[in-house]
């Protein structure tokens, strides 16, 4: 009897040792890499790992489109959720204002369509850093800490640029080299409620530029990279200033990651 209890005691202590060992082991994070890489999928890494610890073993392929590569970071989700909620709210208030105007019918249709489009877009958590694996390796400010649940995407090079915002319908235009924002605008009919003065250009790396397009403020139209967005701004209606709405819209578009596969689109 006595022996038995000793044995049980021994077993128990062995078990305790095992759990203690598990607690002491370094905590792990699970991260994922997708798209044009040799070894896509989920990786389990020790906490404190950096982007390079994921990007290096997964090995980006030569045809990965680096300017459009995206790091979807858990820490950025909250702020972007707020951005999207605020944007939907702003679209809502502009809708109300336009709805109160007897001639606001066209604006209402445009704002409704935009609100539907924004609502359908994901909150990605994309954080804008240079995702070229070589730059990640060489420059420490690019090689930042990963968080559990982070996703890294290396998409294929898109063959299009998008014109969105106050246009008749969002246009997907096939990309031609040295294409400028003005070229893209020409092929996509504007909406009557479009802002006549300014557009925003959102490059695939998330870089944002305001460009004047009217006679009083026009400037050389920037060249577009494949996968760039041109945002035709919405004009304020019924005395409402739309600059906040447009700025949020541009910032939100900059968080949208490119689709992984060209064929899927």
């Amino acid at each position: 009897m006595r022996n038995f209890s000793l044995l049980r005691h021994g077993l128990l202590s062995v078990l305790l040792c095992l759990t203690a060992a598990r607690v002491q082991a370094a905590p792990q994070i699970e991260v994922e890499i997708q798209g044009k890489v040799q070894y896509p999928g989920k990786y389990t890494l020790p906490e404190g790992s950096r982007l390079l610890d994921l990007v290096l073993p997964a090995r980006a392929l030569a045809d990965a489109y680096l300017p459009g590569a995206a790091w979807l970071h858990q820490d950025s989700l909250l702020a972007q959720r707020k951005l999207k909620a605020g944007l939907l709210f702003e679209l809502g208030s502009h809708l109300t204002a336009a709805g109160l105007q007897p001639t606001g019918g066209e604006s209402v249709a445009l704002l409704q369509r935009l609100r539907g489009w924004v609502a359908a877009q994901p909150v990605s958590g994309r954080r804008l850093v240079n995702m070229d694996p070589i730059d990640i390796e060489l420059q420490r400010q690019n090689n930042q800490f990963l968080k559990n649940g982070d996703v890294v995407r290396y998409p294929a090079r898109p063959t299009w640029v998008m014109v969105v915002g106050a246009v008749q319908a969002h246009c997907r235009i096939s990309f031609t080299p040295l294409m400028r924002a003005s070229d893209a605008l020409q092929t996509c009919p504007r909406h009557p409620a479009a802002d006549p003065d300014w557009i925003d250009v959102i490059q695939p790396d998330g870089h944002l530029t305001r460009v004047g397009i009217a006679a009083w403020n026009n400037e050389p139209s920037p060249q577009l990279a494949p996968g760039a967005f041109v945002l035709v701004r919405v004009a304020g209606s019924n005395g409402m200033d739309a600059s906040g709405l447009n700025a949020d819209l541009a910032n939100f578009i900059a968080t949208l990651p490119l689709p992984l596969e060209e064929a899927g689109q």
Binding site: N130, I134, D197, V201, H207, W216, A225
Partner: protein, 703 residues
């Protein structure tokens, strides 16, 4: 750099170039942005300084344009009129020179419907030969920039429009004669008065980028011109072209009044923080951070650490002390303009060598031996930030800036107090512009300056100047004066000797309390005065206000600037209030200094000094002094005024330096409202307490 990265960089550069104007602003004949004779509503980017000349017979103009804010343009100009003789020149060889000053303020920026509108005053406070006022609007249409304005005075001499302001008050219908032989008075009573005339213009940016064509319609009909009856207008239209070689250099050619050729050159510089700083390739490389992320357990070799801090961080160390887990380096900046740069370099050295139980690194900054303030950073956060594991914001949040106060501390290193001698040679340049003898009277000198430091906060400071070359043989004119000649012996002081001693003085500085400083000095304080004096300054940390008071008894020096003294003596002193950043929203970086007191000619009055301080330290300012001397007694100029630009040399050199270039333009040297021009003031000595400047340049902590 990979091709992709290059591509993105080009895209970024392209889009970051927000200042690239499709129709760039160009300078007119009078200086200031405009076409030729007429101004436009456009402005140069803030921080621009332009110098330009133009020649349209009989007028030659040399103008300096300053742009302290995006909405404010100031021009200072010399005009020579070849058909009129300089009244004060007995030989009659030199043509008349007229000094003038312009201001232009932007009221609105261009929008879709509204034009850009500016109002301006031309030739204010001068003799008023060319004085006029205007309001002008500009609207761009693609490559064309149209301007339309209404001018008064010289700019509206055609006078074909009745003054619209006459509807408000009938007094606006007539313009009193504005000519004033003495100049200097601001003719408030004639502003925007009398008949007006329209002027207009268009500027076309041709498809060939460097070429801009201009066409304008003037409001001046050139009747009763200063230049005499030979100046005639055949047509009110002027045409011209500007060849913009670069953003910095432009040439103007035109055909004005239908009969006269215009030729002009403009240089434009950008001194704003937009313009980068040259890479500091001549500075020693910063000490690399320890890669192992651990703290060393090495015996501290303090003399070696001090040597490194002096060489690498440019701080002359007085002592190093320890307060529990904090290490304090006490010393004076010698090389880096930005405290953050010196602090970062010091922290790298300390972090690599200091004991494991040090958590905080503090720089206790002194100047002239007195404590200025203490800046502390957290060691771990600093190292993490250097390794890009923490952001600059994280590091900034650990920064503490406090008054230097006595603390319980353990001394680990102290420099022996010894008498130090320091000297240096530098070239010097003196000039006198726009006088009747020659347009430029100049002198090149070799300057020997020396400092003998008797204790930490007591020193003797001297300067000797040796003449190398000058054209002072032309210097004949001594201006008349109705006041004691406290400044107008300018010529005598400049020409009397080839070897002069402008300064030899003993200084003692002391901090009285955490926010109070005091200074006493005596000796040969400046070229023209010797004596004794004292100053106290109250400059609280984290405050935009400082108060100071100084009092001096001085005696005029002999013309040879040796040890001789003349008979005139005076007690002079001022109470001063220094306000920093007084209108942060509308005019960020606008500082105002008010001084009231007794001036050298025993006159009582007030000096206003306003300046714009850019984030990189560049300053543009102007001052004016009003005393109980009447304008008639004061003579030419009516009151004392001038303006200045201060540029840190660091913005232009590949080696870091704390030297400054000070360019002061004082149109006239007169006896009224003259201040003692003494050496370092307490406000300069305590400039390290400008914590805004520290934070604006905080990123240099990582350099």
């Amino acid at each position: 750099m990979t091709l992709r990265a290059l591509f993105l960089a080009v895209l970024a550069a392209y889009s970051a170039n927000g200042l690239a104007n499709v129709v760039p602003p160009t300078l007119g004949d009078f200086g200031g942005v405009g076409l030729m004779q007429t101004p436009s509503a456009r402005m140069l980017p803030a921080g621009s300084v332009a110098i330009g000349t133009s020649k349209v017979e009989p007028y030659g103009r040399l103008a300096m344009t300053l742009q302290p804010f995006d909405w404010l343009e100031a021009v200072y100009r010399y005009t020579s009129v070849s058909t009129v003789k300089y009244a004060a020149d007995p030989t009659g060889k030199q043509s008349n020179k007229d000094k003038s000053f312009d201001l232009k303020v932007r009221l609105t920026q261009e929008t879709r419907r509204l034009p850009e509108i500016s109002v301006g005053l031309r030739d204010i406070g001068g003799t008023g030969l060319f004085s006029g006022e205007y309001i002008v609007a500009n609207k761009r249409w693609n490559d064309l920039d149209f301007s339309l304005g209404l001018g008064w005075g010289y700019m509206g001499k055609r006078g074909d429009i009745e003054n619209p302001l006459g509807w408000i008050y009938s007094g606006f219908r007539d313009r009193p004669s504005s000519f004033d032989s003495q100049g200097g008075k601001v003719a408030l009573t004639s502003f925007f008065r009398g008949p007006a005339a329209l002027f207009a213009g268009v500027q076309w940016q041709t498809p060939w980028k460097p070429l801009i064509l201009k066409l304008e319609y003037e409001g001046n009909n050139y009747k009763n011109e200063t230049g005499g009856p030979t100046v005639k207008q055949d047509r009110p239209f002027n045409i011209g072209l500007t060849y913009r070689h670069s953003d910095y250099l432009a040439f103007n050619i035109g055909w004005e009044r239908g009969n006269t050729l215009l030729f002009g050159i403009n240089f434009t510089g950008d001194f704003s923080p937009r313009r980068g700083v040259p890479r500091k390739v001549s500075d020693p490389a910063p000490v690399p951070v320890r890669p192992d992320n651990s703290r060393p357990a090495i015996a501290n070799d303090w003399p070696e650490i001090v040597r490194q801090i002096e060489d690498n961080a440019g701080i002359k160390v007085q002592k190093i002390t320890r307060r529990n887990r904090e290490l304090v380096v006490k010393g004076e900046h010698k090389r880096y303009l930005y405290t953050a740069a010196a602090l970062g370099r010091t922290a790298r050295i300390i972090d690599a060598q200091a004991a494991a139980d040090i958590d905080w690194i503090t720089l206790s900054e002194t100047h002239s031996g007195v404590p200025v303030l203490e800046t502390s950073i957290k060691r771990d956060t600093f190292r993490k930030t250097l390794q890009q594991d923490a952001s600059l914001g994280d590091l900034r949040r650990t920064v503490e800036q406090v008054n230097t106060l006595p603390r319980r501390e353990e001394e680990v290193f102290a420099k022996k107090d010894e008498v130090e001698f320091d000297w240096g040679f530098a070239p010097g340049y003196n000039q006198n512009l726009g006088g009747p003898d020659a347009f430029v009277l100049y002198q090149l000198t070799a300057n020997l300056d020396a400092q003998l430091r008797l204790s930490e906060n007591t020193w003797i400071d001297g300067l000797m100047s040796f003449n190398l070359y000058n054209n002072f043989d032309k210097f004949k004119y001594t201006a008349p004066s109705n006041l004691p000649r406290v400044r107008t012996y300018l010529r005598e002081y400049m020409i009397s000797s080839d070897v002069i001693m402008p300064r030899l003085q003993l200084n003692h500085v002391k901090r009285m309390n955490s926010d109070w400083y005091a200074m006493a000095y005596g000796g040969f304080l400046e070229s023209m005065y010797a004596g004794v004096g004292g100053e106290i300054l109250y400059r609280p940390l984290n405050s935009n206000l400082a108060l100071g008071f100084n009092l001096n008894w001085v005696k005029q020096r002999g013309f040879k600037q040796d040890f001789a003294l003349r008979d005139y003596s005076v007690v002079t002193g001022h109470a001063s209030a220094y306000f920093r950043n007084i209108v942060p929203t509308l005019a960020p970086g606008l500082n105002l200094t008010l001084s009231a007191g007794r001036y050298l000619a025993k006159d009582l009055g007030v000096t206003f000094d306003v300046s714009k301080e850019f984030d990189n330290g560049v300053r543009m300012g102007a001052w004016a002094t009003f005393t109980n001397v009447s304008a008639e007694q004061f003579g030419e100029g009516s009151f004392d005024k001038g303006f200045y630009i201060s540029l840190p040399f660091d913005l232009m050199t590949t080696a870091s330096t704390r030297r400054w270039a000070n360019i002061v333009l004082q149109p006239l040297t007169r006896d009224g409202g003259a201040r003692l021009n003494r050496g370092p003031t307490l406000y300069e000595i305590t400039e390290g307490r400008n914590v805004d400047f520290f934070h604006k340049n905080f990123s240099s902590i990582l350099q």
